[in-house]
């Protein structure tokens, strides 16, 4: 039972936006009047209208900071995104050391309301999120991301659990895409021909030296695929921005505007290198994979590598290269990956009526050979064997 006279505490669930100006003291020190005037103008032109537009309530201001309460997470995040976009436009022509840039944190949680002010963990976490945001950026808690996902998708980057000052438990934090990508980005439309992005292969060797090999191989695959006229291939500069990131492939496909994504890994154990590739239909599911090739080093040179197939009945059911072992260069192995990559796409396009060639297998074979140059009879037979198996597998799966 409550003691007599104790006021009932008013609580409610709310979305909290906390913002402050990065480097405020430096800006004030450099030009006090100018900074205050500009800040006032930004409040009048950008921030206050956006808060009103998204039905927020300005709880308080603290010189360079402000605290806003929203009834809806989506409204709070949308407001944050639009404020940062507006500031970004205004900062475009300002010298870098004279920009007024906000850091914003958004959280949703239980708050205590007292005399129009708000308190509680929900508020504290929003303020701490703002503290870890970079200038011009937004950090949100996982709960905000969950609530906003599907309704507003500016692009979220999971930066993991963060220990926030004076907050008992770690909070999982997402960074919201900023800059030119602040606008809720619609998925890029698919090109009118088969499209693919080849992501950097993961180096599972534990040997940093293999990083170069993996990257070089992916570059070779991209170059080989790029020369195919009927294929749309995302440039290396863009696909390598995903290096080291564990992104959802569907999201990657959407961001790059491609139908297919090829991902894979390289693993070196002893004298062997194992390369695994998987082609994924980004809107749907894996088309095949993983398809693996194993190489045994003959010398220390990558180009003098003896490749052989994983033996039938081994852990590699998708690649059936004929015996005896055939010697191939790294480039020829890439040919196999290339064939494996675009054969099912070609087939899939034919199913959709986009390719009208009478013989699917013939067309993809000839394209493959043209890409990599004339292979040896042994390689041709190996490559076609692999191709036939993959094609038949896809056919069985889809038909």
């Amino acid at each position: 039972m409550k003691p007599a006279g104790q006021a009932r505490v008013e609580r409610r669930l709310a979305a909290i936006l906390a913002a402050d100006v990065a480097g405020y003291s430096r800006l004030i020190g450099a030009d006090e009047e100018g900074t205050l005037a500009r800040l006032k103008a930004y409040r009048r032109e950008v921030i206050d209208p956006k808060i009103a537009e998204h039905r927020g309530r300005l709880v308080k201001t603290t010189g360079d900071g402000l605290l806003v309460e929203f009834a809806s997470v989506v409204d709070a995040l949308r407001c944050a995104v639009e404020v940062q976009r507006g500031m970004s436009e205004r900062n475009a022509t300002a010298p870098p050391d004279n920009r007024i840039e906000f850091r914003i944190g958004v959280n949703v949680g239980d708050i205590v309301v007292e005399d129009d002010d708000i308190f509680g963990d929900g508020v504290n976490i929003a303020a701490r999120l703002e503290g870890i945001a970079e200038p011009g950026r937004i950090c949100i808690s996982a709960r905000v991301q969950e609530d906003a996902a599907g309704r507003l998708d500016p692009g979220f980057e999971d930066i993991g659990e963060q220990a926030l000052k004076n907050i008992a438990r770690p909070v999982r934090v997402f960074r919201v895409a900023t800059g030119n990508r602040l606008v809720p980005a619609p998925a890029l439309p698919l090109p009118d021909k088969p499209s693919i992005a080849v992501l950097p292969f993961a180096n599972l060797s534990g040997d940093p030296e293999q990083e170069y090999f993996a990257d070089g191989m992916v570059e070779e695959i991209i170059t080989a695929l790029s020369r195919i006229r009927w294929l749309f291939v995302i440039a290396r500069n863009s696909s390598f921005t995903y290096k080291g990131q564990a992104d959802d492939v569907k999201q990657v496909g959407r961001e790059l505007g491609v139908r297919y994504v090829l991902e894979g890994s390289v693993r070196k154990a002893g004298g062997r290198v194992r390369i695994t590739a998987q082609l994924i239909d980004a809107p749907a599911a894996p088309i095949f994979g993983p398809t693996a090739l194993t190489a045994r080093s003959k010398t220390s040179s990558i180009l003098r590598t003896k490749w052989h197939q994983a033996s039938p009945g081994s852990s590699n059911p998708h690649c059936r290269l004929p015996r005896p072992r055939v010697r191939k260069t790294a480039r020829r192995t890439i040919l196999q990956l290339t064939i494996s990559t675009f054969a099912p796409m070609r087939w899939s396009c034919r199913r959709q009526g986009k390719v009208s060639r009478p013989s699917f297998f013939w067309s993809r074979r000839s394209s493959a050979i043209r890409v990599a140059g004339p292979p040896s009879p042994g390689l041709r037979s190996a490559a076609f064997g692999c191709l036939g198996t993959v094609g038949a597998k896809i056919r069985r799966r889809i038909v």
Binding site: A92, T93, R227, V233, A235, T241
Partner: protein, 172 residues
Amino acid sequence: MAGDDPGILANAALALAYFGEDIGAMIALVDRALGLNPNFARGWYISGVLRNWAGQPDIAIEHLEASLRLSPRARVGNSLAGIGAAHFLSRRFDEAVPKLLLTIQDSPSFTHPYRVLAACYAHMGRLDEAREIFERLRTITRGAVPSTTRYRNLEHRELFLSGLRLAAGEAT
């Protein structure tokens, strides 16, 4: 060896065109590079730049957009600068300004978009903004008004230089 290397062909074409080589021949070189590798994002970018210099801004926009589409996560500054310049050359000043502002934000030390933006503002009659951009340009480079331009089309060259002179406060 270079004859079938799209990277060498396109970059050589850009360098030679920059130093005054026949622009039509250089465009043919880039076309050959793109024939060899139709997914060559930098090749499309170079082609867009050369088309601007050759006086074909609408084709330039198409090619620069193709470059952006092939590499959607690369830095957008250079391609946007080309698109902004193409709108400027086509006298679509309102469309040029946002592209050029974004370019400056993305690549603040890239001088060309400052020049085009200053000229653009000047032709729009926004002389204060033109002069402000021009002053910022002068903090980056001493040669704010170039003695020559890469634009082969006389009308485009005059449009660019007259705008820049206005922004600089000189009589045209």
